[in-house]
Symmetry: C2
């Protein structure tokens, strides 16, 4: 039976999502395939929607796979429960459904959404530090918001592609992979104080005093180049530091030159949020 | 100069907040005192508002201390910045202010607030797993809410005190420590979907499909007995599993017998949120 699985993971202790060429390093794909193999009694391969770097998290990663009928776990929820009993604590299957034979987690995907979290404050936040980049310097948020919005549209985004362009790409269809991507939405958001599991709104409240702003840079695109979100975030931060003008973003894009963009932001602030497919 | 510091930590890799009798184990107090000692060039001792067990987190822990004048970091914010430069990533000073000489983080505290997070769902959530207890079994939330509310008031809460009662208590004033505590508020809350750094409310949204409910058990009291929150949570979960009636809670309290209460819930769902002091 052909299955679609939704997968959540804390990327901190993973060497990325994809099996390494040398088979070394602990990967999300490796853990899922190992659990599936134990369940099925034979090797099962999965395809993942998005390739995430070492340290990058996912709340809505998607996998497609053929699960052997004879394993007698035809109900998708049964596969989900059994897999979660075998998987380590930092990765889990959060939904499972039967998919049509032609469904492929990577090639069928129409849109992907990523969020990068930035904790902008004088003091760090240990309870957010696995999932957000701490920035001590004051940021020009208006300029950052403008810079982010200039990423929207269909562009050749080679300037934001990491060194890994030799590796096969999402949505690659030719020998020479295209670096044109359509960015449907690019936004800087201030997450409100409620965006915390520990926010306290009871009447006897004394709010905790860690003063700062939690920012999200949200990107939705048909597909992403390697390290594209991290490079965009690194560039937008240069604008926030007033080292670059927001209005310079179109020229950076036009240059198709990675050296015109900012540094690659660290991976731990990034999370793959959802992947969209045609309905089936 | 006498200082009040607010401290946040991820308790996962700590052997609790307090220095161990044998000086063994990595503790929050140990890390803070080590950083202060390096800054001051002499030993500095701190007092902490709440004793948290191994694995318990804090967003609003409070420390009081005397910082030697000659260290020339009189401005509290200077002490905060310098300490954060020395502290490891899982603990930070998030606020600092000058306090009157009589201020003591533990003995001056009037109220403490703790939150215990429960992820109630068929599938685990790896991105919450450091900070919440995953419960697969279906829970009777109405009965749990009633059970929690019955903890409010001034009671002898010996039935909810862990084995560590030989250790000096918060608010201990006599040789034989009292187990009477006043619980100002005890509530079960459903945290809404926005209570996540990754909640996505944009129009092109496809919400992630991890179906479940994030619950908080919130307790505000003048002081807490050892493992009191965790034992209350373990007891309330027995009610949620329909192994115990909510109406049995007053009898459990009256028994003063630990064996009448439920098991001690695991520490990682617990967080010290805030501590209240008289204004100064």
């Amino acid at each position: 039976v052909h299955l679609k699985l939704t997968i959540e993971y804390d990327g901190t202790d993973f060497s990325g999502s994809q099996l390494q060429a040398e088979g070394r390093g602990r990967t999300v794909q490796g853990e899922i395939e190992a659990a599936l193999g134990r369940l099925a009694g034979e090797p099962v391969r999965v395809a993942l929607a998005g390739r995430t770097d070492s340290g990058v998290h996912a709340i809505g990663q998607v996998a497609s796979l053929d699960f052997p009928e004879r394993a007698r776990l035809e109900r998708p929820v049964g596969v989900m429960r059994a897999l979660n009993g075998l998987l380590p604590a930092d990765v889990a299957v959060t939904a499972a459904e039967v998919a049509p034979d032609g469904f492929h987690a990577r090639f069928s995907a129409r849109k992907r959404a990523y969020r990068y979290l930035i904790w902008s404050a004088p003091a760090p936040r240990p309870l957010l530090s696995r999932y957000s980049l701490h920035v001590r310097r004051k940021l020009d948020l208006a300029a950052m918001a403008e810079a982010v919005s200039l990423i929207e549209g269909t562009h050749d985004l080679a300037a934001f592609a990491g060194q890994a362009m030799g590796v096969p790409q999402e949505s690659e269809t030719e020998d020479r992979p295209s670096t044109v991507r359509t960015v449907y939405a690019a936004r800087l958001k201030r997450l409100d104080a409620r965006a915390s599991f520990w926010a306290w709104d009871a009447p006897e409240c004394q709010e905790t005093s860690n003063e700062g702003t939690l920012l999200a840079i949200d990107l939705v695109a048909n597909a992403f180049l390697p390290q594209m979100v991290r490079t965009i975030v690194g560039t937008v931060l240069e604008v926030g530091y007033e080292k670059m003008e927001a209005q310079a973003i179109p020229a950076v894009i036009q240059s198709r030159d990675r050296s015109q963009a900012g540094p690659t932001a660290r991976p731990h602030g990034l999370c793959l949020i959802w992947v969209e497919y045609p309905e089936f």
